[in-house]
């Protein structure tokens, strides 16, 4: 269900003469590796949805902008329809403000239609879904398979949970704007990012402790409002789907993930930019293990890959896709230099089994 576009430019491979002075690269790499290895940092990757149209696969995206949306006229305790509209508007505005993306949205008005109804209009609203017991919110996209066109995309917020629109959040309540930001990413055509670090508690509970993408699928603790901002991975994803002129300055890293010479499907490949600490990633998305990370700032990057062995794989990939989870975390042994507006040139990342 994923789609992935290939870079259109190539450039000199990292580590070749003229790219990085050897001693500086070595020091650079040693410093970063020491930090990264000692903290088992999370990886991430933005995913685009793909849909099969005839014999080709196309990215799922809106053909026309602004994307028009309605707000359901029913609220929940402490959050009225106007509160929902205001929080949603802030979330839409955050995505729309990405300078390298052309995505735009338009609030049309309030409606009595429910967000789960497939009626040709995109609606956001609260709904009671006892069958979605641990789902705070979700996006439902209806598309025409013959054209790949999105017909509508609804967002429901589960009324079984307590919600807040307070500027600084409220204890024991989930921040509506943060959740809306994530869902609007889906509505726009983005899948989940795997960036995020969790911990297990002795009582069996699992808690998210860090994330580097709004599109990470697991909930943050109630009261937290830090999810109201986009990260580099989100920005790369939305810019890749709806590129604005400035996005052409960004570069990419591409290559293959292999194990014993064979391609590895579903590996997270993460590019870390030491200049600003940002992370952008992708998955290897075919049986040849090919990947391409777009939307990178020009300059040297550290490349790391890891298996998605702590997640609900079915939340990222179709059930029948041969995702390989049984390999060790691996770093590419050189810095990879991303050229402005071009690609690093193909690199090969070799993994070994656990």
């Amino acid at each position: 269900m994923t789609e992935h576009r290939k870079p259109t430019h190539t450039a000199q491979a990292a580590g070749q003469p003229g790219n990085v002075r050897p001693f500086r690269a070595l020091l650079f790499f040693w410093l970063i590796s020491s930090f990264v290895l000692s903290h088992a940092a999370p990886a991430l990757a933005y995913l685009e949805f793909g849909v099969q149209v005839g014999d080709r696969r196309v990215a799922l995206k809106w053909g026309r902008v602004p994307v028009r949306y309605f707000i359901n006229d029913q609220g929940v305790a402490g959050v009225g329809p106007n509160d929902l509209q205001a929080a949603a508007n802030r979330a839409f505005s955050t995505w729309q403000a990405v300078p390298t993306s052309s995505i735009a949205y338009q609030f049309v008005g309030f409606t009595s239609a429910l967000p789960r109804e497939e009626d040709g209009q995109s609606t956001l609203g609260f709904a009671s879904r006892p069958d979605l017991d641990r789902v705070l919110a979700s996006t439902n996209i209806l598309l025409d398979q013959t054209t790949g066109e999105i017909i509508e995309a609804d967002i429901f917020f589960n009324s079984a949970f307590p919600w807040s629109v307070a500027p600084s959040g409220e204890p024991d309540k989930y921040d509506l704007e943060s959740i809306a930001l994530h869902e609007v990413g889906h509505l726009s055509g983005l899948g989940h990012s795997a960036l995020g670090e969790t911990e297990m508690r002795a009582d069996g509970g699992r808690l998210v402790i860090a994330a580097e993408a709004a599109m990470f699928p697991i909930a943050f603790p109630p009261g937290n409002v830090s999810g109201r901002t986009l990260r580099a991975d989100d920005i790369a994803g939305i810019s890749d789907l709806y590129p604005e002129a400035g996005f052409s300055d960004a570069g990419s890293i591409s290559g293959r993930v292999t194990r014993d010479g064979r391609g590895v499907f579903g590996a997270h490949v993460v590019a870390f930019d030491p200049a600003d600490g940002s992370l952008v990633g992708q998955f290897s998305l075919d049986t040849e293990g090919r990947f391409s990370i777009l939307g990178l700032r020009p300059g040297p990057h550290i490349v790391r890959l890891e298996p998605l062995d702590d997640a609900d794989v079915v939340s990222f990939f179709a059930a029948d896709q041969p995702v390989d989870l049984d390999f060790r975390v691996t770093f590419f042994d050189r810095l990879v230099v991303v050229p402005r507006g071009g690609d690093s040139g193909s690199i090969e990342l070799k993994v070994v089994g656990k």
Binding site: I32, R134, L136, E197, I209, A219, V314
Partner: protein, 184 residues
């Protein structure tokens, strides 16, 4: 050179700060919670996945049928059916983001819940399904395996941990039974 190193150290420090979460959608559920809350836990093979309209014809959902090979909790019989939101009907495809897409022939362990006289649903959404795959050397494996629970305190879940490998199905089922009976 010094400027580069300073920048590097600052970046690394920022990189390691635990920016408290911002992702959404799912409230995480451990296997212990799933085992406790499930009305039924079944291992089996998917034999059908048929999209249909919801009874009010407002949306598309998929009715999944599993031939139960083993029941670990509850008693739903040898043919178990449950609903997953989304699906494809004719030219229209409804994508419920994050919903598992189960395919005929796939082997799974599912944790099911239900409310009232309706079909069961996957407990915890995508968290309520574990994939079972054949391995030529090790037999049937559950992959990815459940995250181990620490005896005390907390433990960070590390991706690529060499100690966390696909789990033999028999071990997984024993763990589920222990959780259901409350012996761990």
């Amino acid at each position: 050179m010094m400027r580069t190193i300073c920048r590097l150290v600052v970046s690394c420090t920022l990189f390691l700060l635990p920016a408290r979460v911002q992702g959404t959608v799912l409230v995480p559920a451990s296997m212990a919670e799933l085992a406790r809350d499930a009305g039924a836990i079944v291992r089996g093979r998917v034999v059908a996945a048929e999209a249909r309209f919801t009874p009010d014809r407002g949306a598309i959902e998929t009715l999944v049928t599993v031939d139960a090979e083993r029941t670990l909790k509850g008693s739903l019989g040898t043919t178990v059916q449950f609903l997953v939101p989304g699906g494809t009907l004719g030219r229209y495809r409804s994508i419920f983001v994050g919903a598992p897409e189960l395919v005929v022939g796939q082997r799974v362990v599912v944790f099911l819940g239900w409310h009232g006289p309706s079909y069961p649903y996957l407990l915890g959404f995508s968290q309520g399904v574990f994939r079972v795959q054949a391995d030529g050397q090790r037999g049937w494996l559950v992959t990815p395996p459940p995250i181990p629970v620490p005896a005390t305190g907390t433990s960070t879940v590390v991706r690529g941990d060499p100690d966390r490998r696909p789990m033999p199905l028999a071990d997984f089922e024993q763990r589920v039974r222990d959780l259901v009976t409350g012996t761990r």
